[in-house]
Amino acid sequence: MATTTPSGSAGTASPTPRKLPSLPPATLVKWLRDMHLIREFEVRCTQSYQDKKIGGFCHVYIGQEAVAVGCTQAVKPEDPIITAYRDHGHALARGMTARACMAEMYGKVGGCAKGKGGSMHMFDRPNNLYGGHGIVGAQTPLGAGLAFATKYEDEVINGGKNRRVTLCFLGDGAVNQGAFYEAMNLAGLFDIPVIFIVENNGYSMGTAIDRGTTMSHDLCIKGRAHGLKEATIDGMDLLAVYHDMHELAEWCRENSRPAFVDMKCYRYKGHSMSDPRKYRTREEEERYESNDAIAKFEKALIDHGVVTEESVKEMLKGVREEVRDSIQFSNESPEPPLSDLYTDVFVEPWGRYTGSSLPEFMGGADNVCGFRSTDGKEGLV
């Protein structure tokens, strides 16, 4: 497995300029646009938070754009992905519209979950994004389960060969959650085709990785202990992410085996909106920002003549317009009706849930049995 191995943390080494992958220029341009879109989206999201349009907890992805874009582009649309609470970038990279993503944070009906999930819980079933999970590490057994299900469907139900791989993103803080070790053990044991991508931005909230994690200089040892294939990837280099993740994903798909990725990257902003970042220096931040993944990829595309400075300007204009439109859409999208409070609690094949565990209120006095069969007839046969 060829992987880049930056010395030290992400971006401190300058990898030799890569050849562009032999893909249609339009694809490469789309990747650049996707990264710009995520960054612009997160900048405007921060403003909206400060304007009190967005509530609760909100974690922006600025700096890590190459990870979400590179990883999602390295797999197929039918490959499930699941992530933690810093999820706007993954949602946009997977194809969620800026409108649906922003409106969700505004708590409006136009949001991907009709305003019921919020910033940390982005779900997009048509695009195979299974959240958006707020509890650190909770998504890791779930991610193993998504992959278990695709394998089960392909092999047990359809009697064929495994054909999908699941990407399960987590932060370096989640590496210390027990659930993650259980998930890796199960994945290794049951040959589950899931890739645990540790977006190692060096900090779990305000705790530097070496203050919270043993063997942080060799994070892959955590996966190695469970027999997982491993890779260390420079997450500040889109081409490295795409190339290495594509190779790894195909190996996992073909062999139906799990993998562990130490994806070295950097979070330019704080953990959340209320983080003054006193635990690190401005010099450190500037060092990473000067190795920005978007700027590097943009330069590579210009150098190879795929885009021009002019066309990039046009692209940015379009990106700004798209994000501006998402904010206008979110402002105009209606608040959820109060009746939405009671929907989506149960699939409930026997009647509508009305905020009570008491079936008497579901269908009025006649429905004393508290159930309604699907043909509309009530009562026991």
Partner: protein, 345 residues
């Protein structure tokens, strides 16, 4: 998610004909799981010792031989991991049955079973559901001590988005388990180690028992005894003793506590003007406390006395057989509560 629950055949097992067939509680659960696994390949069973060991309590005995290791899956001792994994699989449309050897062990899986399974549908705005069954032994076994004797319904019934089933007899166990497996929502199915060997008539043939539909186990005129799970059997014993004293009890088996069939209880209390709730979980913030409050609300003018409650005592479960028997909602305590409620004390 596609509703597998197409035209379910809901029947009361007591209305089904056929020869008397007495089987154990554990056999009834196994029959339900096996029948559903035969009809739907998306259903599979996983948990500790469910396959090669034939189940720690032999509930899954023989299932590995029929369905193979791809569908009857031994897991490591890793509740948080395998419960979470099964929830992920359910989100993708499979229909897992997760066996907790004891519901007491589910406490280490609290995050996935309480934060993911019941909330996924809501948080995703209806995009992703979680058609999953968690099942295992609940409540005091026999001298298992404090850590292994949890009545988790006291904790978990507080959470919206889950359905909680607590059967009291083999026939119900089968019919309710089949409904649980076909249900599109997460179902917590609470068995009792002390009842797994209980025998009862389980009719041949297909039947499902709907959730939220209580059974009147014994008709009576003087006092309504409302309960679920193992204590229903204690209520029936107590009713026999009380009958000899001239107190005629009506025993209602709720079968599921979420949803809760309040109308059947209310109808009974309006007749008897007296209610005793028997619940094995601890009294504070319990489903029994909830039911008592609801009876007070809906039968306020019908009650001749406040609703009495019988629970496990408010202490950690003791090991000593004598103390454990005293701790549980036993027949003596139920009789005392009914005498007090009917002013016969």
């Amino acid at each position: 998610m596609s509703a597998v629950l197409s035209n379910p055949v809901f029947r009361e097992p007591s209305t089904l004909g056929g020869p008397v067939r007495e089987i154990e509680f554990r056999d009834a659960i196994r029959e339900a799981m096996s029948e559903e696994m035969r009809r739907d390949k998306r259903v599979f069973l996983l948990g500790e010792e469910v396959a090669q060991y034939d189940g720690a309590y032999k509930v899954s005995k023989g299932m590995l031989a029929e369905f193979g290791a791809r569908r009857i899956i031994d897991t490591p001792i890793s509740e948080s991991g395998f419960a979470g994994m099964a929830i992920g699989a359910a989100a993708m449309g499979l229909r897992p049955i997760v066996e907790f050897m004891s519901w007491s062990f589910s406490l280490v899986a609290a995050d996935p079973i309480l934060n993911n399974a019941p909330k996924m549908l809501y948080m995703s705005g209806g995009q992703l559901g979680c058609p999953i069954v968690f099942r295992g032994n609940d409540g005091a076994g026999g001298q298992l001590g404090s850590t292994h004797s949890w009545c988790v319904e006291g904790l978990y019934s507080n959470v919206p988005g889950v359905k909680i089933v607590i059967p009291s007899c083999p026939a119900d166990a089968k019919g309710l388990m089949k409904t649980a497996i076909r249900d599109d929502d997460p179902v917590f199915f609470l068995e009792s180690e002390r009842m797994l060997g209980n025998k009862g008539h389980v009719p041949e043939g297909e039947y499902l028992i709907p959730f939220g539909h209580a059974a009147v186990r014994r008709a009576g005129a003087h006092c309504t005894l409302a309960s679920w799970g193992r204590p229903v059997n204690f209520c029936l014993e107590a009713a026999e003793i009380l009958a000899k004293e001239g107190i005629d009890c009506e025993v209602i088996d709720l079968r599921t506590i979420r949803p809760l069939d309040l109308p059947t209880v209310v109808k009974s209390v309006k007749k008897t003007n007296c209610a005793v709730v028997v619940d094995q979980s601890w009294s504070f913030s319990s489903p029994g406390g909830e039911l008592a409050a609801l009876i007070h609300k809906h039968c306020f003018d019908d009650l001749d006395n406040f609703v009495h409650r019988v629970h496990s005592d408010d202490v950690p479960t003791p090991y000593s057989a004598k103390l454990e028997q005293e701790y549980l909602p036993n027949v003596r305590k139920i009789c005392e509560a009914v005498r007090s409620a009917t002013y016969r004390a």
